[in-house]
Structure formats: structure tokens, C-alpha cells
Assembly symmetry: C2
Homo-oligomer: 463 residues x 2
């Protein structure tokens, strides 16, 4: 475990220092009297250039075997590099080849591969520049989320993955069962007899941990979830996954104002952390994938988010000197084109819209005094659109019961959720964001399937 990581050598290695590196060959160049090999260990985008001279033991054999994808250990001495764009390189003193990669069959030769093709070799694609940069940024982003909340005293709570309730009424859920589907037990009235299944009732994969997070916030004040959630929608798009990770903080004694403050601080923190810890990867995305990602990050970090009500936003959109595809009318949900117009053209920075019409939002959002709007908030970012959705929750028992009934839901299903309002209820608020969407926006990657190691989507369950 005293492996020297290439990221550290590239940053801090000094000429004449002895090091041993272990990694995989990215490229090899054979010249007349020596060979260059670029070795990458996944710790950084950049590889370390290794210079092999004929006087090292086994030179000819090593050079022959060290094709792209081969695994190798090199011991040697760092020297200042005469080559452009790299400070140091490694003069090899000994080389050990662990495993070869036959150039005739190894799929990742030195050329551009389409992301579609790379998805078919999901077990190898992390060895490419782009995917490895994505997963380093993904990791930094994930850790920044934990750091942010932990430093504020929030508890990470694990809400259940298997659930017997469709908590948001979001529909489209996967069933979890132990039945042999060849022979599903039935009741006398020829219905599925779920009482005979593992959990004794119909069970699903969760679509959100929010309601359970509220339970925990009523004991610990500030909590957050960070776990997988599921949607069984048959959406074959570049922005939908059947399995994705979600972050859902929930704060007791917090109103919509506090919710917005936290969400804004959260986004600034995450973007800043990733820029600081993965500068090369972010530079790479800006150069190769989407030349607006650094400007977008900068915009989020350095601007105070604009805050205005849904009603004011509708007024702005109605008088906009612009033709929209979808109609604008108080009471209708905003479309992506409207959101982007506000964030990109009107304010040119992130915008938080608040107080949406009650009809278009979930039952648990707190009803405002006007009885027409709820204390909801959505954060819209330039180039990105909606990135966070949150609300103050309805903490008044009688109002919440009426909202549940009005939506045609069964109060009995929510007995424990209602109990939170019956015993020591408090104003509380929270928000949610999809982790892969965040990584997608941060990196500019066009397809969400390329920001999660092993994507799940319709007909897609390989690896």
C-alpha cells in the first residue's frame, strides 16, 4: 500500500527522486535507440511519460509487450522532461510487465471511440480519458456532498430501498418479489396473493427517501439522504436512468428562506470543491466536451442567485420579446425553454423560483396564506435548467390531511407521516437533486448514461 500515485508524482515529484509506479500503458512510441511509454494509473488525467533505454534488463521483450492496455510496474528516477507540456518524466531502471493486451483484440486502441461504442464495453471504458475524468469528478462531487453536510452537523441517514408505499405518488415503480413468476400464488378470488410474498405485501423500489428523511429530521433536526432511487419509466432519453442516486437534505425548524439559503450554499460549495480538486479534468471537459462548463461553474460560484416568485416569473415571460413553443399562463408548469430564458437571458445567473400554484406541486408542500400557492422552490441554472427542487413541508395536521384527501390518496397509508404532525410538529423544509444530473451538468456530458459506471435503462442491464 505504499504505491506512489501518478497524480502526486506529476504534482510534487522532483528530479533525481526514485519512484516506482504501477499502471496501464496508454501509448507506446518506439524510436531507434529507446522507447517512450505513457503510463496511467487512473489517479489523474495525465499519464507519466516513461523513458525506456536499451540498457535496462529485458528491454526488447518489455518494449514488445508494452502495448496499449498492458499493465506494468516501472522503477526508476525522475528527470526534468525536455518535452513540451510535462514537467518531469521517469527514466526507467527496471520494468515488470504484469499483463499484456493483445493489439489485435483489445478494443481500446489509440483513436477516438464513440460513447455509444464505449457503453458496449462498460467494463473497459473507464480506461479512456473522458470516462476516467467523469468518474474522478463524480467521486469528488460525491465526497464534497458528504463533507458539506457533515461539516454542518447533518446526519447521513439511509432511507429504505425496498418500500411498500409509493410515497410521492410518482407512479412508475419496479416491483420487488421473491415469487417464481412462472407460478404466482393467487387468492381465492384470483388476485395475486401478496401475503405469501417475502414481505407479505406488494413491495417496490423506492422513488424517493423524502418522507423517511422527514422522520429522521424530526429527531435529529438536520439530516440528508444520499442513495439510489428508481423510476420504471420507459424513457429512452439522454437524461433519464431507471436507477440513479439522489441527495435529499431535510431540516427541522427551517422555512423556505432557510431552504433556499442552504441550497444555494450547497451548490456553490460543490462546484468550488470540484474545481479545486479536479482542475485538469474540468479543463479537459471545457476543451473537449462543452466549452461552457467552466463559465457555468464560475457563474454558479460567484453570483448571488436571483430569487423571485413563480407569479413574477410568469409576468416576465408574458411580456418577453420572444416566441415560446409552449404557452405561458399562470397555473401552467414552466417548460425548459422558459426556465432557460429566465436564467440565461433575463438574469444571466442562477434563479430560484418560489411559490408555485398548488395544483402543479406535490401534496406535502406547505400551503401559502393565499391558499393558491405552495412554499416550493426550484433552482434554475444557465445552460442547465432545473437542478434542484425543494419546498417547505406542510407541518399543519389538518391542512395536510385535506391535501392528501384532495389528491385522492388514502390517509391511512400515511399514518406515520401524519403522526409527525401529531406529535411535536415543527416547520421544516428540504430539497432534492439527482446526482447524475448534477455530474452531467458539471462535466457537460451529453448522455446521462456516461456519468454513471453501469447505467440501467430500458433493455439495459449489462455488467
Amino acid at each position: 500500500m505504499t504505491l506512489q500515485r501518478i497524480v502526486e508524482i506529476l504534482r510534487n515529484g522532483q528530479p533525481d527522486e526514485s519512484v516506482t509506479i504501477k499502471g496501464w500503458v496508454r501509448t507506446k512510441r518506439e524510436l531507434k535507440d529507446f522507447a517512450f511509454v505513457e503510463v496511467n494509473d487512473g489517479s489523474s488525467l495525465a499519464s507519466l511519460q516513461v523513458v525506456l533505454n536499451p540498457d535496462i534488463p529485458g528491454y526488447a521483450d518489455a518494449v514488445k509487450r508494452l502495448n496499449t492496455g498492458a499493465s506494468v510496474e516501472v522503477a526508476g528516477v525522475l528527470v526534468a522532461s525536455p518535452a513540451k507540456g510535462q514537467r518531469i518524466e521517469l527514466k526507467a531502471e527496471s520494468v515488470k510487465v504484469y499483463g499484456e493486451a493483445d493489439p489485435q483484440t483489445y478494443p481500446l486502441q489509440k483513436k477516438r471511440h464513440s460513447f455509444e461504442f464505449l457503453r458496449e464495453i462498460g467494463h473497459l471504458r473507464s480506461r479512456t480519458n473522458t470516462l476516467s475524468a467523469v468518474f474522478r469528478v463524480r467521486n469528488a462531487c460525491a465526497y464534497a456532498i458528504h463533507k458539506f453536510f457533515q461539516e454542518k452537523g447533518f446526519l447521513w441517514v439511509h432511507t429504505p430501498i425496498i418500500s411498500a408505499s409509493d410515497c410521492e405518488g410518482a407512479g412508475e415503480m419496479f416491483t420487488v418479489t421473491r415469487f417464481n413468476l412462472q407460478d404466482v400464488p393467487q387468492t381465492d378470488s384470483k388476485k395475486v396473493d401478496y401475503s405469501k410474498d417475502f414481505f407479505g405485501k406488494q413491495s417496490y423500489l423506492t422513488v424517493s427517501g423524502q418522507l423517511e428523511a422527514e422522520v429522521m429530521a424530526m429527531a435529529f433536526s438536520n439530516v440528508y439522504t444520499f442513495g439510489p432511487t428508481f423510476r420504471a419509466e420507459n424513457s429512452n432519453t439522454s437524461r433519464h436512468l431507471a436507477e440513479f442516486w439522489m441527495i435529499e437534505p431535510e431540516m427541522a425548524f427551517c422555512d423556505l428562506q432557510g431552504d433556499m439559503d442552504l441550497a444555494e450554499e450547497f451548490l456553490k460549495y460543490i462546484f468550488k470543491y470540484v474545481l479545486e480538486t479536479c482542475p485538469e479534468d474540468m479543463e479537459f471537459f471545457n476543451q473537449r466536451i462543452d466549452n461552457s462548463v467552466l463559465a457555468t461553474a464560475d457563474n454558479i460560484i460567484n453570483n448571488q442567485f436571483e430569487r423571485l416568485s413563480y407569479s413574477d416569473a410568469i409576468a416576465l415571460l408574458e411580456k418577453a420579446d420572444k416566441q415560446f413553443e409552449y404557452p405561458v399562463n399562470w397555473g401552467l408548469d414552466l417548460q425548459s425553454e422558459h426556465e432557460r430564458y429566465l436564467a440565461e437571458e433575463v438574469f444571466e445567473k442562477p434563479v430560484i423560483l418560489t411559490d408555485y400554484p398548488v395544483e402543479i406541486k406535490a401534496f406535502y408542500m406547505r400551503l401559502n396564506e393565499d391558499a393558491k400557492t405552495v412554499a416550493a422552490m426550484d433552482i434554475l441554472a444557465p445552460k442547465i435548467g432545473e437542478i434542484i427542487g425543494g419546498s417547505q413541508r406542510e407541518e399543519r395536521l389538518d391542512v395536510l390531511e385535506r391535501r392528501i384527501e384532495a389528491q385522492g390518496l388514502d390517509k391511512a397509508d400515511y399514518w406515520w407521516y401524519l403522526d409527525l404532525r401529531r406529535y411535536g410538529t415543527v416547520p421544516h423544509a428540504g430539497f432534492g437533486l439527482g446526482f447524475e444530473r448534477l455530474v452531467q451538468f458539471m462535466t457537460g456530458m451529453g448522455n446521462i448514461r456516461d456519468v454513471i459506471p453501469f447505467p440501467r435503462a430500458p433493455l439495459t442491464v449489462e455488467f
Copy 2:
């Protein structure tokens, strides 16, 4: 979000400081001229004692309403406490009651409740001393795991939850489906037609992320998983859950020695971090739940783990002056009684057993030179038994193929796993541990259902 947390006030608050706290009433004592209320906000085991004097506005009404479970905001001034066991208390200047909790119906009155009863009110049980201590320790433990790996440059990788393969052959899996179970599509030959299901093939909830973690280690060198895993075993015991979280680090260029070094360092780090960040909670467990938890933690932190081979362990057990219930014989798996004898009686500290018989271990573990044992390791701790299991992985393509075949598995199912050995294979190793088991051991809690917020087990899927 400028909420002052009670944990900080109890630690650092000074007399004459003005503070505002928000939390829930644990107990109330009414005296003739004033009242004491203990307020807890979940940030610490200890509550803050609030002194209410009749001269504050609304005194009589507040005292009447502030029963156990009520939510409250108190502004006031800290004063040195004359009472035993607390440094400071809060002299209230104003009180705001947010929500009441009817003493006639609120289930958590001031008395001992059984853990069985508390499981029935899983939405309220985190408001008790024991469960709140458990979930604070759980959080500290979870964050320590991330910190440990991140500081070493490991990437957190999210391996898939829904999987089409039974990767370890561990059996007992949940099926994930979008079929209407009332009407499952069939092929012409009357088999279930999985090609019509959401993923186009039979899909399950994962039992381990190891194989996919190996994929990622072959690109990033060092990675770890930390996510939910599932077992559909019909085990109604105090140590089994159908849904639990698992941690699985995987390291390229690492042998069994490096694997053991990392696992030992890992355990020491986690126990140390939790003792440092949750001293009161750990003290509480030692006093109220299991008076050996501090000694066990100390034993893990301060001893160099004993390392010996399975064969040597068998020899020790065979000559032990002790009657075991289960037989001891080279080739048989060790039982809990054997493991505990070694850790508690022979060595009196954690023991790492290595090199188990090939027949009793998984196909992916690296075959030793003797062809009879594999490079596996299990860590056994006093009072705890097996806490970590790991191995060096078989990196030789031909050997791995033979092992897969020998176990009656189909090589074709492992095409991508075998590719890792085909292209740039390297020695690598990893280990796994169940997160809830770790928290259970750390806290001494008798039932694993009490260390996860919302346990899933046979017939148990509430909340």
C-alpha cells in the same frame, strides 16, 4: 440556518451567552415557582436543561403545553448550573411552542420501552436515547469510512443495484420486474417471457458490488463501494437483514499482505474516529447496552492483529483444551465458537486467518501454489467474530476459467469479468464488510434491526 445546536452549547457555551435553541421536550418537571424542561435537538445524547420562570411571557400556557415530545424554541441566557452532571443550563427569556404531543396518546412517555415495541413505531423511535445514539454513531461510522478511503485517494464507485447476474453465486435473490404479476407474459413454450420485461432479461437486486468494483479498480487502481445490497434469505434472526449496506474496497497491484494491512488500518481508523467524535454515545452503550464495547474498541485500536494461516488455526483448535459443539477438521469451515475461541482465548485480540481450503471459498479467490488453499483472509475480533472477509483475486485467466468451470458456472456469463484478465491483468485484492454488522458490533446492540433506520426482513417492510 443559524440554529445553535445543543451539542455545541453543551460543549462550548459560556455563562451570560445569549442563545436560541430549537428542539423537542424530553422531560418536564414543574415545581412551585418554576419549571425545568429538558430539550433535545438530536445533536447529542444529553439534553439542555431549560429553566422557566413565571415572569416570562405566557409562562402558564407554555408549561401546560410543554409535555414530552412537544417541539419548542427557547431564547435565553446560559447560566452555570447548580445541578449535578451538567455544566450549564439555559435561563429562558422567551418560549415558543411549535407543536404539542398529547400525553394521552404520544407513545414515548418517560419510561423504558422494549426494542420490539420501538420497532413498531419506527417513525418515532429515533427520538429515544438509545436509537438516537445508534444513528449518530452510524453516521460517524459512515463518514469515517468515506474519510479513510478518500484521504488515501480511493474513488467511491457506485456499482449497480439492479443486476442481471448472480455475481457470487450467492443465491437467494430478489427479482425486480415491471410485469403485472396478475398477468405475466409467457413464451410459446409457457415459460416466463423475460424479453418483454423492462430490462429484457430476468433481473435481480445485487448481492455484492465486488465484480464491478474490480472493473473500476482496473482503471483507477484503488476504489471502494458503499451501497445497499440484498439477500432474500428467509432468516428471521437478530443478525440478518434483507436490505443492508456494504463496503467493498478493491485495490489493483495489491496482494493478500497489502489487503490485510489495509483492512487492519481501516478498522483501527473507524473505531478511533467514532470514539473521538461520539464519546458520550459510546459511553452510553458501554453503560446501558453492553459493558464490553469500549474494551473491544480499545482492543481493536491498540493491538497489532495476529496473523496466522487457517491450517495453523486448525492445529491450535485441535489441541485446544476445550469441548466444541462443531467438529474441527482441516477442510471444514470454522464456526463462530472456533473463531471466538481464537480471538478471545488464544490471542485475546483480533486475528486474521489466511489461506483457506479452496473448497470452502468463492471461485474468484486466488489459488495458492499448493493448489489446495486460496489467498483468502477473514478478520475475527473478540466479542464480535468475523467482521471482515477478503481475498487476493485470481488474476490468471486460465486458472480463473478452470475455477469457474469447476464450480459449474457458465464462463459466458462472466465474459466481461474474464476480459479484465485478458487485457492488462494485475494482481489485485479487496475485502468486504457489512455496515450494519459493524455498527452492531460497535454499539453492542443485540438486534441488527435496531441499527438501521427502517429495517427490511421477512414480513417487515413498514415505513
